[in-house]
C-alpha cells in the first residue's frame, strides 16, 4: 500500500496556504517554502536526495496545521531533510543535539561542570567553531543533582493512576516542573507514576537520526506497555514529547507497531488532561487562590499540532487574578534544536522577532509556554522569565516544596550578549 504521508501529496492543489503560514519562509530567502520543498519536490524525489533547499525547514509544522487539503507537508519535509547527505562534522553536531538522552546522562553526572563550561563564552566560541552550535544559542542548564534527586524520589500519592512521562527536560534540566506536575495532579485526586527518564526520540528525528528515534519510541512503548494496556493515560508536560508519542512516531517515522499506536492513543498533554478533568467537574477550581500577575501566554508550535485548542490558556483563565495576554504569533523560532545551530540561529531569532516584540510591548511579568525549548528561547530573546503553565497552577494551589532555581533565568539573560 502507498505510504500515507506520500499519498497525502495527492491532495495538494498548490493553493499557497502553507506558504502563507510558514514562519521561516517569511523571514529568509534561504528557505523556499513548504510547498516548494514538500508536495512539489516529493513527486520528483524518487528516494533520491538531490535537494538541499529543504534544509532550512524548521519542522514547526505550521504548514500541516493550516493545510485544508490534509497534506502532511511538515512530515514530508522532515523526512526529506533527514535524507540530505551530510559532512562528518555536521553529522557529529547533529548527533550531539539529537541524542539528548546520552548527552544529558553524561553531563548530568557533573551538572556544575557542564553548566560552567556551557556558560563560558570562550568555550561557546570554540563550540560554535568546532561543533556548529551557535555561541549565543539558549542551551539549557543542567539541574543541580539535589533537585533531580528530589524529583525522582517523589512518591505518586493517592488517587486515580496515570503515568507521567518526564522526557529529557524534566529528567535533567527542570526536575522541579515534574514535581509540580505530580503535585498538581495529586491535588486533583490523580496519582502519577513517574516513568523512566527517557528521550522521546524527537530531537533524534529532527536531526535526521530516524533509526535512533525509532528505537527510543519503541523502548518507551515497551516500558509503558503494561499501564497503557490497562487504559492508564500517559501524561507529558513537554509538548514535543507528547507530539512525538501522539503522532510523529507514526506520521514521520512511519512506525505502525501496536504498542506504539496504543501509546499514541494513551498520550495526553498535561494541560489537556487537566482541562478535561475540569470539564468533567473533577478539577479543584475552588482551591485556586488568586495570583495577581500579568502573564503572556504563547502556545508553542508543537502544541498546536496536538489539535486540541489551547487547553493551557483555558486553565490559566481559571486562576483568579491572573491577567492573560494571548500570543497572536505562531512561533518563537527555536523549533527544538533548529535555533541552536550556528547557521540557523539568526533565522530562528528572526522568526521569533514578532513574538519577542509582542512580549516586549505587552510587558508581562512572566511568559507561560508549554514547551521547554520555547521557554528557553523566549527568555533568551526577551529577557522575560518563562514558566510552564502548570507552574502557575502549582503556585495558585499554594503548593510548596518544588522550586524553580531563580538563577536559571538570570543566567540565560546574561548569556544574551
Amino acid at each position: 500500500m502507498r505510504d500515507e504521508v506520500v499519498a497525502s501529496t495527492d491532495g495538494c492543489v498548490k493553493c499557497t496556504i502553507c506558504e502563507q503560514a510558514c514562519p521561516v519562509a517569511a523571514v529568509t530567502d534561504l528557505f523556499p517554502g513548504p510547498k516548494y520543498v514538500g508536495p512539489q519536490a516529493e513527486r520528483f524525489r524518487h528516494g533520491d536526495s538531490v535537494d538541499r533547499s529543504v534544509e532550512y525547514c524548521s519542522g514547526c509544522g505550521a504548514c500541516s496545521v493550516v493545510c485544508p487539503q490534509g497534506v502532511a507537508v511538515a512530515e514530508l519535509n522532515i523526512r526529506a531533510r533527514a535524507q540530505i547527505p551530510r559532512s562528518r562534522r555536521e553529522t557529529l553536531r547533529n548527533l550531539a543535539l539529537g541524542d539528548t538522552e546520552s548527552v544529558a546522562r553524561l553531563a548530568g553526572l557533573v551538572p556544575g561542570v557542564a553548566n560552567a563550561l556551557l556558560g563560558n563564552r570562550a568555550v561557546r566560541r570554540v563550540a560554535q567553531w568546532l561543533a556548529g552550535v551557535h555561541r549565543l544559542a539558549p542551551l539549557p542548564a543542567f539541574a543541580p543533582r539535589r533537585s533531580v534527586r528530589s524529583f525522582w524520589t517523589k512518591s505518586p500519592g493517592e488517587g486515580v493512576p496515570v503515568v507521567y512521562f518526564p522526557g529529557c527536560s524534566t529528567s535533567w534540566y527542570e526536575p522541579w516542573l515534574g514535581e509540580m506536575v505530580v503535585a498538581v495532579l495529586e491535588r486533583n485526586g490523580i496519582s502519577a507514576q513517574i516513568a523512566a527518564g527517557r528521550c522521546c526520540g524527537l530531537p533524534a528525528q529532527s536531526n535526521g537520526f530516524f533509526g535512533l528515534a525509532a528505537r527510543r519510541v519503541a523502548r518507551i512503548a515497551k516500558e509503558l506497555g503494561a499501564p497503557v494496556a490497562k487504559g492508564t493515560p500517559v501524561l507529558a508536560s513537554s509538548t514535543s514529547c507528547a507530539l512525538m508519542l501522539m503522532s510523529e512516531a507514526k506520521d514521520v517515522l512511519g512506525i505502525e507497531s501496536d504498542p506504539v499506536l496504543r501509546l499514541a492513543e494513551a498520550t495526553w498533554d498535561v494541560s489537556e488532561f487537566l482541562l478535561d478533568l475540569h470539564r468533567q467537574g473533577r478539577l479543584d477550581q475552588k482551591g485556586l487562590s488568586p495570583i495577581s500577575r500579568r502573564v503572556y501566554y504563547h502556545p508553542p508550535c508543537q502544541q498546536r499540532r496536538h489539535l486540541s485548542g489551547r487547553p493551557a490558556l483555558e486553565l490559566l483563565a481559571l486562576i483568579p487574578g491572573v491577567e492573560i495576554i494571548e500570543s497572536t504569533q505562531y512561533c518563537c523560532g527555536i523549533a527544538g534544536t533548529y535555533g541552536l545551530k550556528a547557521e540557523k540561529y539568526e533565522v530562528a531569532m528572526e522568526v521569533g522577532r514578532g513574538l519577542f516584540s509582542e512580549i516586549a510591548d505587552s510587558s508581562p511579568e512572566v511568559v507561560a509556554c508549554d514547551s521547554e525549548t520555547c521557554r528557553w528561547q523566549i527568555t533568551h530573546a526577551s529577557g522575560v522569565p518563562s514558566v510552564h503553565p502548570v507552574e502557575l497552577l502549582y503556585e495558585s494551589y499554594g503548593l510548596s516544596g518544588a522550586r524553580r532555581p531563580l538563577r536559571q533565568d538570570a543566567k540565560r539573560k546574561s548569556a544574551r550578549r
Binding site: 501529496t9 495538494c12 498548490k14 520528483f44 538531490v50 535537494d51 487539503q69
Partner: protein
C-alpha cells in the same frame, strides 16, 4: 499561394513514424520536407502510453512484433537516451490469472529474443514495493519509458540540422499527379490559410491512423483499422518499474511510470473516425480498477487526466480476419503503391509501434532510395556520427536537481511549480521563437502545465513572458484561454477527489483574478 518548395522526399505526418523517416532520410543524405497538420506528435504519438516496449507484451500473441520491439528497444536507447528513462519493467501474474500463460512466458520470450529474467514474488516485491503483494509469478524485462516530445524533438532537430524542413501546422490537402505518378502535394498553412506546393521525387505517407484517408487522395487504398485506447494518468508515480500483467494482452494491463506520473492503459475499441478520441467515464473507472489490481491503492490515488489515442492497425488487402482489433497484428506495413495500386513515387508506412520507429524508417527509406538512388555526398551522416557521446538516460530526480540549481541564487525563478520548469528555460524558447510561440508549445517542450494543477498557476506566468517578448497581449490572451480549455478537456472524466478540488480552484482563478477581458472563459 506562397513560394513552392521542392525536395527529394516529402514526408506526410509528424508522428513518430514520419519524424523517424525524415531523420533517417536526412542521415542518408536526402533532402527532406516534413508536413504535419498540427504539431509534432499531434496525432497518436502524442497520445500513446509512453512505454519503450521490451517486447514481452507480444511474445505470445504477436512474436514478430515482439522480436522487433526487443531489437528496437536497444536501438532507440542508443539513438536518443535523453528521451528515455531506463525504468525497467515487470511482468506479473496475479491470483486468478491463467498460470499456463506465465509458465509459457519465458520460453516465448526466449524464442522472440526478448530478455526476461524470472524472479520470485519476494524478489519482485523488493524490486518494486508498490506491486500487488499477491503476485504469483514475476519476470523482469528491459521496459523503459519514453518522453515522446523530447524524442521527436531530438530527431527532428537533428534532421533540421541536416537540412530537413519541418513544417508544422501544414496539412496535405491534395496531391499533384501526372498520370500514374505523384509529383508532390499541396499543403495548407493552418495559421495563414495559405496553400503552398511542394514537389518531391517520392512522397512518404506516414499519417498513421489517417493514412487510409491520405492514400485515398492519391487514389490508392490503405485499409486501416482504427483502434482507440484509453489511458489514465495518476498525479504521482505509483511505481518506479513499469508493471505489465502477465496475461494475453487485455484492457488495463500495463502501468507505466512516466516522469512524475504513472499511466494505466489501455483499451482497444474499433472506431470509424481516427479523430474520435473521446473517453467514456466507464472506461476511466475500468482503468483505475485495473491499476488497483496491479498496484493496490491506485484505486484511491488522484487521477490527473484521461485521454485516448487511436492505433493505426494495418489490414493487408484481401486479408481476412475477424476484425477484432486485439487480434490484428501490431507489426508495421510498408506499402509500395507502385506495385499495389500502380501509382508511382508514393509509399505508405504505417502500423507498428512507437518503439519500432527506427526500423520502420529504415525500411521506408530503403524503398525510397531504391526508387531515386542515393545522393553522391551524404555529408550529414558523418557529421552526425562524429557527434560526441550523448548524455545518458534521463532520471526523474534530475528534474529536481535542475530546479534546485536556481534555488538560493539570484539568477532564475521557477515558473511551473509542478514540473519544476525554470523561467530561463521558458525565456530561451520564447526568444528563439521571437515570441511566436504558444503555451501549448511550451508544454510539449518543457512539460509546463502537465502537473497536478494542470496549468492553473504557470500558464499565466508563461503568457506574461510571451507577451513581454511578442508585445501582443490580445493574441497571447486568446492562446492562454485556449490552453485552459484544452487542459480542462482532459480532466473532465477524472474530476474526483483532489482533482475535483483542483478543478474548482482553477475555475476560480480563470473567473476571478485571471478573468480575461470580454466574455467569461467557457470551460467544458
Amino acid at each position: 499561394m506562397t513560394q513552392a518548395l521542392s525536395a527529394d522526399v516529402l514526408v506526410i505526418g509528424g508522428g513518430s513514424t514520419g519524424v523517424g523517416v525524415a531523420w533517417e532520410a536526412t542521415r542518408r543524405g536526402l533532402s527532406v520536407i516534413l508536413a504535419e497538420r498540427s504539431n509534432l506528435a499531434g496525432g497518436t504519438s502524442g497520445r500513446f502510453h509512453g512505454l519503450l516496449h521490451s517486447g514481452g507484451r507480444y511474445v505470445v500473441s504477436d512474436p514478430r512484433s515482439a522480436s522487433e520491439c526487443a531489437a528496437e528497444n536497444k536501438a532507440l536507447r542508443s539513438i536518443a537516451p535523453q528521451a528515455i528513462e531506463d525504468t525497467g519493467g515487470l511482468f506479473v501474474s496475479l491470483e486468478g490469472d491463467d498460470p499456463a500463460y506465465a509458465e509459457g512466458f519465458p520460453l516465448a520470450c526466449e524464442r522472440a529474443g526478448v530478455e526476461a529474467v524470472a524472479m520470485s514474488p519476494a524478489e519482485a516485491r523488493s524490486a518494486e514495493p508498490a506491486v500487488n503483494p499477491g503476485i504469483q509469478a514475476a519476470f523482469w524485462v528491459p521496459d523503459a519509458s519514453v518522453d515522446v516530445w523530447r524524442l521527436l524533438g531530438i530527431l527532428s532537430a537533428q534532421a533540421a540540422e541536416g537540412g530537413a524542413k519541418i513544417l508544422e501546422h501544414h496539412e496535405v490537402v491534395s496531391f499533384e499527379q501526372e498520370g500514374q505518378r505523384v509529383l508532390g502535394a499541396r499543403l495548407k498553412d493552418s495559421a495563414t490559410g495559405e496553400t503552398r506546393w511542394v514537389s518531391a521525387q517520392v512522397v512518404v505517407n506516414a499519417t498513421g491512423a489517417w493514412s487510409g484517408r491520405v492514400a485515398a487522395m492519391a487514389g490508392c487504398e490503405v485499409e486501416i483499422l482504427a483502434s482507440r485506447g484509453v489511458m489514465v494518468a495518476f498525479a504521482d508515480r505509483l511505481s518506479h518499474l513499469a508493471i505489465n500483467r502477465c496475461i494475453r494482452p487485455s484492457d488495463g494491463d500495463i502501468v507505466v511510470p512516466i516522469r512524475t506520473v504513472s499511466v494505466i492503459g489501455t483499451t482497444d475499441v474499433a472506431v470509424a473516425d481516427p479523430d474520435d478520441t473521446t473517453v467514456a467515464p466507464e472506461e476511466v473507472a475500468a482503468m483505475v480498477a485495473a491499476a488497483d489490481q496491479l498496484i493496490p491503492g491506485a484505486g484511491s490515488a488522484r487521477t490527473l487526466r484521461a485521454w485516448a489515442g487511436v492505433r493505426p492497425l494495418y489490414r493487408p488487402p484481401g486479408g481476412a480476419g475477424s476484425g477484432a482489433t486485439r487480434t490484428v497484428s501490431r507489426a508495421h506495413a510498408l506499402v509500395d503503391h507502385a506495385t499495389q495500386d500502380g501509382v508511382e513515387a508514393f509509399v505508405t508506412i504505417t502500423g507498428g509501434k512507437l518503439t519500432t520507429l527506427r526500423l520502420m524508417a529504415e525500411e521506408a527509406v530503403d524503398l525510397v532510395v531504391a526508387k531515386i538512388g542515393l545522393p553522391a555526398t551524404p555529408a550529414f551522416v558523418e557529421a552526425l556520427e562524429e557527434k560526441p557521446a550523448r548524455p545518458a538516460y534521463f532520471r526523474l530526480p534530475d528534474a529536481l536537481a535542475h530546479r534546485e540549481s536556481v534555488w538560493g541564487g539570484d539568477r532564475d525563478a521557477v515558473v511551473c511549480e509542478c514540473e519544476g520548469v525554470l523561467r530561463s528555460d521558458v525565456v530561451a524558447l520564447v526568444a528563439a521563437a521571437r515570441g511566436r510561440i504558444g503555451i501549448g508549445d511550451l508544454r510539449r517542450s518543457l512539460r509546463v502545465g502537465m502537473g497536478p494543477c494542470q496549468g492553473g498557476f504557470c500558464s499565466y506566468r508563461c503568457a506574461g513572458l510571451i507577451a513581454e517578448a511578442a508585445q501582443a497581449a490580445e493574441a497571447v490572451t486568446e492562446d492562454l484561454v485556449e490552453f485552459w480549455k484544452e487542459r480542462f478537456k482532459g480532466t473532465a472524466t477524472v474530476s474526483f477527489g483532489a482533482q475535483a478540488r483542483q478543478e474548482i480552484l482553477d475555475r476560480w482563478l480563470y473567473a476571478s483574478p485571471l478573468a480575461p477581458p470580454g466574455e467569461p472563459v467557457a470551460l467544458p
